[in-house]
Amino acid sequence: MKLLARTNLYYIFFSAITYILVAGAFYLVIEYVVYQEVEKRLVVERHDFENFVGAHGMWEESCYFVENKITLSALRTLEPYVAEFKDTALYDRYSAQLVPFRQYSFPATIGGINYKVSIRKSLIESNDLLMYITGTMLILLSIGLLLLFLFQRRISKTIWKPFYDTLSKAKSFGLTKGKGLTLQQEDIHEFNELNAVLDKMTTKMALDYKNLKEFTENASHEIQTPLALISSRVEELIQQKNFTPEQMYWIENIHQSTLRLSRLHQALLLLAKIDNGQFYEHEHINLTSVAEKKLAEWEELFLLKKLAINIESSGNLVVEMNATLAEILISNLIGNAQKHNLPGGSITLRSSAKNLVIQNPGAALSKDPGQLFQRFAKQNQTSDSLGLGLAIVKRICETYDLTIEYTYQAPLHTITVSVPS
């Protein structure tokens, strides 16, 4: 829920409660005042009645006026009747409906007979008054609350604007741009602080990223240069003719190890670069066609190793990713499939819009397939492979939220790369 929606919701909720409470209280107060007034007049009329009875010693129905009816009823018991007020409704013959009355009952003795005297006063005007006053007040209150609501919404929008500006800038922040956010000075202290903190954090992040990137590249340079020197010196050395076969063998060993070291270093650098997110450019890559191209490119190699190639495609797997990494991903997988194949075996490529499967027959696994994704985890520790190929594959898949699965069901090794459903 959005911040403004949430504040509006709170506002409406509390307004509604206030509205109901105020309306109720208002009604009760006015009703109380009206009753007080009516009752006061009823008490005055009781005095009038008692004065009349005291003066004349009797009560005459006709001597009183129409509206405030006074009725007398003889009481059977002699207990003194306690005076009480109560609401009642009487039939009005003019308007043909029940009309509310306030009734005051009290005991009186006229001519030695006990009576219960009831004086009634119509409440109809008072009720109308009550309605009008309450109604008017409620309308005014509604208008007030509505105006207040619009006003506070406006204020919230203005006050939170810098926050939303900062938020949208923070969203578009990218490490690879090499610099932190540049946020404006704001009038509100808290937002200023927020901006300052964000500025500081992002600048530091961008700087760290840049340093790391530079370090990676410099390390690469520093290590590759001596390796290049060793490799070129060895190449010069082998141009000499007067070596014994044994010496030649040593030199070749040095040469091989140098190349291996260089490859290892490049692979580790690649992993570091993926981890640092340095492959930030991405595009729609059709992995199926990358794989088909790779298979075509290595056709001669497969011919030599007598591997049959099967392609079963029911759709193309298209992924948003970096082109270089896509190439590395596919060549590592196909490279593995041919490297760990059986003589006269096959490589099967199956693809759909959801996944890409590379399958090849091979020797039984000595360890859990999942472990082979770890760095330097090799099926055969003495093999001259680097043991980084699948680790790189896994990192690439993780970077682009692809799922990778390795299963072995004798004699087939199956690797499935799929997009999350």
């Binding site: 240069t225 070129s232 190449e235 650098l269 001669e300 190793k305 490297k339």
Partner: protein
């Protein structure tokens, strides 16, 4: 033909220059940005080989400076940085090739020759070595005017040999030249062996002498015994 090698690692610069000189090039080596700028202003070269990271400057600036002086000089960039941006940038500013360190000297040699061929410095579209004649425009190979049908890789291999006459070539270097560096060494050796066998057979079948000599434990050499 004159080549300038600009590389701050002295040993590597010497190696490159020595290797090129052996092949008949006039190769000079300098180790700093300032020396390089001075050289290209004073002399004209057919090709320069530039390292990107120099102690007192960046290789890209040398390329830019050279492009202003002489646009016909071939440029090969060598760098320890295997960054795609660098490769793209170097091609954008007019370099002809990009090699990542460490590289094989024979590979550099082949690249230099291919570059000079593309720029047609010799004025001909053919390379000849005794009875072998290769037309690199039509990609056709002749032995004493009889055409030899070679596969793409065999053709590449032959051209690589012809660029490195009498140089001991390691199997690793050949494999990398043919397949790039994303192929495992053990497999690549088998495939190099298989290509060499086929190439040798196709050439000798047409009456060519066998110039391919194997060197025990190392690889092969192309040339007269």
């Amino acid at each position: 033909m004159k080549i300038l090698v600009i590389e701050d690692e002295k040993g590597l610069a010497e190696s490159i220059a020595a290797h090129l000189q052996k092949d008949g090039f006039i190769a000079e080596a300098v180790g700093t940005f300032a020396d390089a700028i001075e050289k290209i202003n004073l002399y004209s070269y057919d090709c320069i080989i530039v390292d990107l990271n120099l102690p007192d400057g960046v290789g890209f600036d040398i390329v830019n400076a050279l492009k202003k002086i002489s646009s016909s000089t071939g440029i090969i960039i060598i760098s320890a940085r295997d960054a795609l941006e660098d490769k793209i940038r170097s091609l954008e500013i007019g370099s002809d090739d990009y090699l990542t360190k460490p590289f094989h000297l024979s590979e550099l040699n082949a690249r230099v020759k291919s570059l000079l061929r593309r720029r047609n410095f010799g004025g001909s579209n053919e390379i000849t070595y005794n009875e072998i004649r290769v037309n690199y425009v039509s990609r056709k190979v002749f032995v004493d005017n009889t055409e030899v049908a070679l596969s793409r890789k065999e053709y590449d291999l032959l051209l690589y040999f012809l660029s490195n006459i009498n140089v001991a070539l390691t199997k690793a270097a050949m494999a990398e030249h043919l397949w790039g560096d994303n192929i495992d060494s053990t497999d690549s050796f088998d495939i190099v062996y298989s290509h060499i066998k086929n190439l040798r057979k196709k050439l000798t079948d047409k009456g060519c002498s066998d110039y391919i000599q194997s060197i025990y434990g190392i690889g092969y050499k192309f040339g007269e015994k």
